[in-house]
């Protein structure tokens, strides 16, 4: 197996993705040309809806990392970043984006035209430590950009109380004031409601799409998870809704006709943690043996619903909950989510990616593994990294995955 390979896409709508991605980045560049302020921000927060509502352009440096991985640029970026003195032990997103903005950014050979420079930087407070540090480094690199420090409580979802919400709403309002001031544009609340409605629609479609994975055989697998791109970059736009509707329709049709991703689906798998962006082909390996990944932790970050009638509150709640949903802020909650998914999606085995690039999602996996095994769901831990292929050993993966798959197949009565 290659260290970097691409996953097989079977859905027609998944094949549309490169175009969707190209269009988004084109839009970012046009915004820059037209003088529409470009803001860099972390994903999974309410800033995205505010930006779209105000006609500003959101850009997501974290999302740029999978793009770099797909184009095989990560090594170059790591080299620049590590050359600056950043430790190889730091999160791969951090090393990639810092390397990129100090290296190839703005030069020739940038895929998709590269990233346009930020006019505004919105560092997150409330996500993980690396993201906080990424944005501090970006502020250093782009000193001319206007920055706004939003403060979001880092609180487990089950512990959210009024004072967390009130503070989060206060911070969202402060952000609006800041954006109005630096861009000279006024936020139109009716427009915001419309954007939030679109965002909510996207979430609803997202959940519907995910629910098709309950079908046996599943009409969509982790190999097509790239569709998540629109949830990261396009939430709150008609584009996202249209695209997700097309995905949903295709899945519906496939589900009705019982067309699975695999001709002969034998084993249903759960994937915990971020995929290996440089090696989405890893999923092909399982698929070749009749195993298909039908659920994962990461995709749950968008399983929220938004209330268009209370846009500020709902965006504050979104910002507050998206990250804790998938991280170790509450391992209890994540464990619950994983176990529930395993039941609902009829999972036979779980693959827990022990991800050197993401401590928050990795911590707690051992506890999750134990509980899965109590539910009689075997779990395999694979050591890797979602960005840095130097932390992934193909040979080791293959030996362990072979044994795991053989065990699962024989448990289900398939002779090898």
């Amino acid at each position: 197996m290659e260290k970097s390979s691409k996953s097989k896409k079977r859905l027609n709508t998944a094949k549309e993705l490169p175009l969707i991605i190209a269009e988004y980045y084109q839009e970012c560049h046009e915004a820059k040309k037209e003088g529409r302020p470009v803001g860099w921000m972390p994903p999974m927060n309410g800033g995205i809806e505010l930006f779209y509502a105000m006609g500003l352009q959101p850009v997501f440096p974290e999302n740029w990392s999978p793009v770099c991985a797909a184009f095989g640029l990560t090594h170059k970026n790591f080299e620049v970043c590590e050359g600056m003195g950043y430790s190889r032990d730091l999160c791969g997103y951090l090393r990639n984006i810092i390397g990129y903005v100090h290296g190839m950014m703005g030069g020739p050979d940038n895929p998709l035209g590269g990233l346009p420079e930020p006019d505004i930087i919105l560092p997150p407070q409330g996500g993980c430590s690396p993201v906080m540090k990424i944005f501090q480094a970006l502020m250093r690199r782009f000193p001319q950009a206007r920055t706004f420090y939003a403060d979001m409580p880092q609180v487990a979802i089950e512990n959210i109380r009024d004072h967390h919400m009130n503070y989060a709403v206060f911070e969202m309002k402060r952000l609006v004031n800041f954006l109005e001031e630096v861009t000279g544009r006024k936020l139109d609340y009716d427009r915001l409601k419309e954007v939030v409605r679109l965002s909510d629609k996207a979430c609803e479609l997202w959940d519907e799409i995910m629910s098709y994975r309950r079908f046996i055989p599943t009409p969509i697998s982790a190999s097509e998870i790239g569709i998540m791109f629109v949830m990261v970059t396009r939430q709150g736009t008609q584009t996202a809704v249209d695209y997700l509707t097309r995905v949903r329709d295709e899945l519906k049709e496939r589900a009705e006709q019982k067309v699975g991703i695999l001709e002969n689906e034998k084993v249903r798998l759960f994937w915990d943690n971020i995929p290996l962006w440089y090696n989405m082909g890893l999923f092909n390996y399982f698929e070749k043996m009749g195993g298909v990944v039908v659920a994962e932790t990461y995709s749950a970050a968008w399983s929220l619903r938004l209330d268009a009638d209370n846009p500020m509150e709902t965006l504050a709640r979104k910002t507050l909950t998206s990250y804790p949903l998938v991280s170790c802020v509450s391992i209890k909650k994540r464990k619950e989510m994983v176990l529930k998914a395993c039941r609902e999606y009829a999972i036979d085995g779980a693959i827990l990616h022990r991800n050197k690039s993401c401590v928050p999602i990795t911590l707690g996996q051992m506890d999750i593994k134990r509980e899965l095994e109590e539910m009689d769901i075997p779990a395999l831990i694979i050591d890797a990294d979602h960005m840095d292929d130097r932390n992934f050993s193909t040979a080791q993966f293959q030996t362990r995955a072979d044994a795991f798959m053989e065990m699962l197949l024989s448990r289900k009565g398939y002779s090898l």
Binding site: Y86, Y149, V329, S330, L363
Partner: protein, 370 residues
């Protein structure tokens, strides 16, 4: 190697298990924490003794079953120590959200070692009226949780706790001032031992020990040999690395550690009621990279160097520590620009390679040629 002055503190640190057991057998209820951003005064005011969970000197064997090997060795060793039963006297765990690893390990601790009460307190990053009242609500929440666990909190009790911790911090600051003047007859190893004892024992007892120590300090002291340095990092649990630094030609005259100065500055906060004072101190803390940017810290570090007449910086990091490792390139470049020599030492869970480290440090100090 531990001097007579530091010996009583060393006894406590070396017999930590016993110390905790004694406290427990006296009917004290103990609450563990990892980061010094945890409001110890509030825990104390509720009738508990806050105990900072430290790591063990040994290597990690059991913690492999619970934590990946790429989180900081401090936390892994703490889990190891927990699994070995050292913290069975702890009732609960309270942690201020500082870094992801500590937050995750707190969760793991609760699931595997048990912790009741258990709470992770979200902390604001910016200082504005609303963040102060947000923090206030969070602290009131925590007081409520501690109350439900049998605690007994009141503003008066908090005032007393602020007073006792404030006095401890004032005495520690006095020691620091003497250290900045290069007049402290304590090695860095002694000093860390003194700080560590404070994490383990009841503050009342600790305060009187500090008084005794200060009374016993000689009037004058030979400034000693070695390049005066500032040690910067998160926390150091094993004193050995400091010993090696001083044996190789350095002399620690200042630090930016949460097992050090960062825990003590400022001694008090201001405000109209005890809760406000607690909040104010939090807001004015000498910042940890997990809560601030390198730009914010740099001028403070430079001031500290000037004040202590340190000529070089030694960064001592826990391997995999995101907040510190991320700030390092900026700080290092800034120091270089100012012509201040610096060197970085990473603490690994397998322990430091003594010989190799010594050679590196020796040539570093030689190069400075102080």
């Amino acid at each position: 190697m531990i001097s007579d002055l530091a010996r009583p503190f060393d006894e406590i640190v070396r017999n930590m298990d016993q110390e905790l057991q004694t406290l427990a057998s006296e009917g004290k209820r103990l609450i563990g924490y990892f980061c010094t951003y945890t409001p110890v005064e509030l825990i104390h005011a509720s009738g508990f003794i806050p105990v900072r969970i430290l790591g063990d000197a040994g290597t990690v064997e059991k913690a492999y079953t619970l934590t990946p090997d790429f989180i900081c060795p401090y936390l892994r060793k703490a889990v190891e120590k927990g699994l070995n039963g050292s913290y069975k006297c702890l009732d609960g765990l309270v942690q201020g959200y500082t870094c992801d690893a500590a937050c995750g390990v707190a969760n793991i601790w609760e699931a595997n070692m048990g912790a009741d009460p258990f709470h992770i307190l979200p902390l604001p990053y910016v200082d504005q009226d609303e963040s102060r009242s947000f923090l206030r609500s969070g602290l009131e929440d925590l007081a409520e949780i501690l109350k439900r666990a049998g605690g007994d909190f009141s503003q008066e009790r908090l005032a007393d706790s602020l007073d006792i911790y404030g006095r401890i911090r004032t005495l520690m600051s006095e020691l620091y001032e003497i250290r900045y003047e290069h007049r402290l007859p304590l090695s860095a190893e002694d000093f860390l031992t003194i700080v560590q004892a404070g994490f383990i024992t009841a503050p009342e007892r600790y305060l009187s020990m500090l008084h005794d120590l200060i009374d016993a300090l000689p009037e004058t002291c030979d400034p000693g040999e070695g390049v005066p340095i500032l040690v910067s990092g998160s926390l150091i649990e094993e004193t050995k690395v400091l010993r090696i630094i001083e044996e190789s030609g350095g002399r620690v005259v200042a630090d930016d550690l949460c097992t050090g100065m960062r825990n003590f500055v400022p001694a008090y906060g201001h405000g109209s009621d005890p809760m406000d004072q607690l909040i104010d101190r939090f807001m004015n803390r000498f910042p940890c990279p997990s809560r601030s940017s390198a730009e914010y810290r740099l001028p403070r570090l430079l001031d500290l160097m000037k004040h202590s007449k340190a000529c070089a910086m030694v960064f001592v990091f826990q391997k995999y520590c995101t907040p510190h490792l991320s700030d390092y390139p900026f700080l290092n470049d800034a120091l270089k620009d100012k012509g201040i020599p610096s060197i970085m030492v990473e603490l690994d869970e397998t322990g430091i390679m003594e010989g190799q480290l010594k050679t590196r440090l020796e040539s570093f100090f030689e190069m400075i040629g102080w």
